[in-house]
């Protein structure tokens, strides 16, 4: 059974798609050059004119945009529409306390709802579905992104947001939820809690999971599918581009279809920046072709993936990206939240005026990510009283939690006890088996 939300777009012939993308690319480059100071100066720096973009391959002439550019231009410097046209703002946590901010025009919210609806349909949902959205609502794009897509589709939406697992399970039973949208680790946690509560998932109406916002493996998929008795579908997205719905798995589950009429993907060598051919692993770079509020030209996602362009057995011609295979930087995703080791460094620096050696240990216990930060005690931080050190631990813990937006356990350790390689402390130990 092949059903699509937008059959013309999702099954477009390659030639037509390329023509559509080329036209849209030229348009957005010209518009940004005309109206957006950040992009104009980037293009002027390398002597590039909108007329230089003639074919799709000319996209390679454009410079990359990095997360740092968003921070440097905080909060609205990358917006390309006046605030009177912006109807929604989302933000994600930032490494130096500055979040990265994104803005949407009315049309952008329409596009986002469209690609999210496409995603839900590709994942097997329909008007008849009852979807429980257990992604966080608020500044995070997860909750509202799926919400708008599900409403556009006409499914019944339960906007429960994340947390309060026992209640999630009660409503799931009572409301006849057929689809669950949340992070894969939270799905496993829900499964575990169901077991503890004596609820058999197979006796509920739950059939499908729409899982994303953190990397997960095939092994984890099998685990979720067997524990919950559902089909677990991977959804990909990032707020910088639009949010969830950039790409989605179909029933074939051989890669995620990118809505490439809106988001043009490239795979590059993260070191040289050179574009790699289909089938080669590299960093995913995305260009928004239609967004107005905050368009992105060649945004470095730092996610590692592989593209393949053959038509899928599901009938879609949309290019597929592999499940995200890792990161090209040191960013960690803990419970769906982006965490950089440098954030920890900044917090420690602000507390002790020195940068102690530290190490992040990430583990998955009871299917939930746990972050422990080991901090080597410096003489400046050391006090003679146990209480003083406990207060210090609590202070570090409190500031880390508020900076990282994810709770962290803190353990003070003696000097030189953190493993060094080439004199530098090994910053991250990720014990999660992803």
């Amino acid at each position: 059974m092949n059903t699509y939300w937008n059959k013309p777009a999702e099954t477009m012939e390659r030639e037509d798609m390329s023509a559509l993308q080329t036209g849209r690319l030229k348009e957005i480059v010209a518009r940004l050059y005309r109206q957006q100071p950040f992009y104009r100066s980037k293009m002027q720096e390398i002597g590039l004119l909108p007329e230089d973009i003639v074919t799709l391959a000319d996209i390679q002439k454009l410079p990359f945009v990095y997360k740092q550019d968003m921070r440097d231009n905080y909060p609205y410097g990358l917006f390309a529409a006046p605030m009177s046209e912006i109807i929604r703002v989302h933000a994600s946590s930032g490494t130096t306390g500055r979040p990265t901010v994104v803005g949407y025009t009315k049309r952008d919210i329409g596009i986002w709802s469209e690609v999210a609806a496409r995603s839900l349909v590709a994942a097997g949902l329909s008007k008849q579905s009852c979807i429980q959205i257990a992604y966080g609502y608020g500044l995070f794009t997860g909750g509202l992104g799926i919400h708008y897509g599900a409403e556009l589709l006409g499914a019944s939406v339960i906007p429960i947001s994340s947390g309060n697992t026992a209640r999630q399970i009660m409503l799931m039973k009572d409301f006849g939820t057929t689809a669950l949208a949340c992070t894969p680790s939270y799905a496993l946690y829900i499964a575990e809690t169901m077991r503890e509560m004596g609820v058999d998932p197979r006796e509920t109406s739950l059939r499908t999971g729409i899982f994303g916002a953190e990397p997960w493996t095939e092994r984890m998929r099998k685990e979720i599918e067997s524990q919950l008795g559902i089909k677990a579908m991977d959804i990909y997205g990032l707020s910088e581009i639009i949010g969830p719905g950039v790409a989605i798995e179909c029933s074939v589950q051989d890669g995620l279809h990118i809505s490439e009429d809106h988001f043009y993907p490239e795979i590059i060598n993260p070191v040289t920046g050179e574009v790699l051919p289909d089938g080669e692993k590299g960093e995913l770079v995305l260009t928004t072709l239609t967004k107005e509020g905050m368009p992105m030209l060649r945004y470095r996602t730092r996610d590692l993936s592989v593209l393949q362009r053959e038509k899928c057995a599901c009938g879609r011609t949309l290019v597929r990206m592999s499940k995200v295979l890792g990161r090209s930087d040191d960013m960690l995703i803990i419970r769906g939240v982006n965490v950089f080791p440098s954030q920890v460094e900044n917090v420690l620096l602000s507390i002790s005026n020195t940068t102690p050696h530290y190490q992040l240990i990430v583990e998955r216990k009871d299917n939930l990510d746990h972050l422990t930060v080991l901090v080597e005690l410096t003489e400046e931080m050391f006090t003679d009283e146990v209480r003083g050190l406990e207060v210090l631990e609590a202070k570090i813990k409190g500031e880390l939690s508020s900076t990282l937006s994810v709770s962290a356990a803190v353990r003070l350790v003696g000097p030189k006890t953190i493993e060094r390689s080439e004199g530098k402390a090994k910053r991250v130990i990720d014990k999660r088996e992803l």
């Binding site: 005690l377 410096t378 003489e379 050391f382 006090t383 003679d384 009283e385 146990v386 050190l389 406990e390 631990e393 353990r411 003070l412 350790v413 003696g414 000097p415 030189k416 006890t417």
Partner: protein
């Protein structure tokens, strides 16, 4: 009298305390008094040794986090109520005792000794030495902290 105690950070793991003691042993350093304050994750080893500055350098050189903390040392008559008398004096003056522990006994001595960490060290010292019954401002004389405790 006020003496200088060494405080050493020790992780609460098997073998960690032995590491510190091993360093002291290999340098022929004798511990006059000691105590450990601890939590689930770490402890603070507090020791009284002769020539604390030198020992601090030795322990630092061995990679430990060490701090010198001035504390009060009281010599008590070894009989019931000996400690009570002093502690009562301090508490009447509103001085808070953060921790205290006993010195190693010397068989030739007829006295017991305890080390106290208090929140108002100079006032406590004056009360214990009998130099003052009140909380008048007081300037600490230079070089009054002895270096040898034996």
């Amino acid at each position: 009298m006020i003496i200088n105690q060494l405080s050493v950070f020790v992780e609460n793991q098997p073998g960690k305390l032995a590491e510190v003691l091993g360093v002291l042993h290999s340098h022929g350093i004798n511990i006059r008094a000691m105590s450990v304050g601890d939590t689930a994750d770490f402890g603070i080893l507090r020791i009284v040794v002769n020539e604390p500055e030198k020992v601090q350098q030795v322990l630092r050189g061995a990679g430990f986090t060490v701090r010198i903390t001035p504390v009060l040392c009281i010599m008590l008559s070894d009989q019931p109520g000996g400690l009570f008398e002093y502690v009562n004096k301090l508490s009447l003056a509103g001085i808070n005792i953060e921790y205290f522990y006993a010195f190693a006994a010397n068989s030739t001595e007829k006295h017991a000794r305890v080390v106290l960490k208090v929140d108002n060290l100079s006032l406590a010292e004056r009360l214990i030495s009998g130099k003052s019954e009140s909380a008048d401002p007081y300037q600490e004389a230079e070089g009054t902290t002895p270096n040898f405790y034996w």
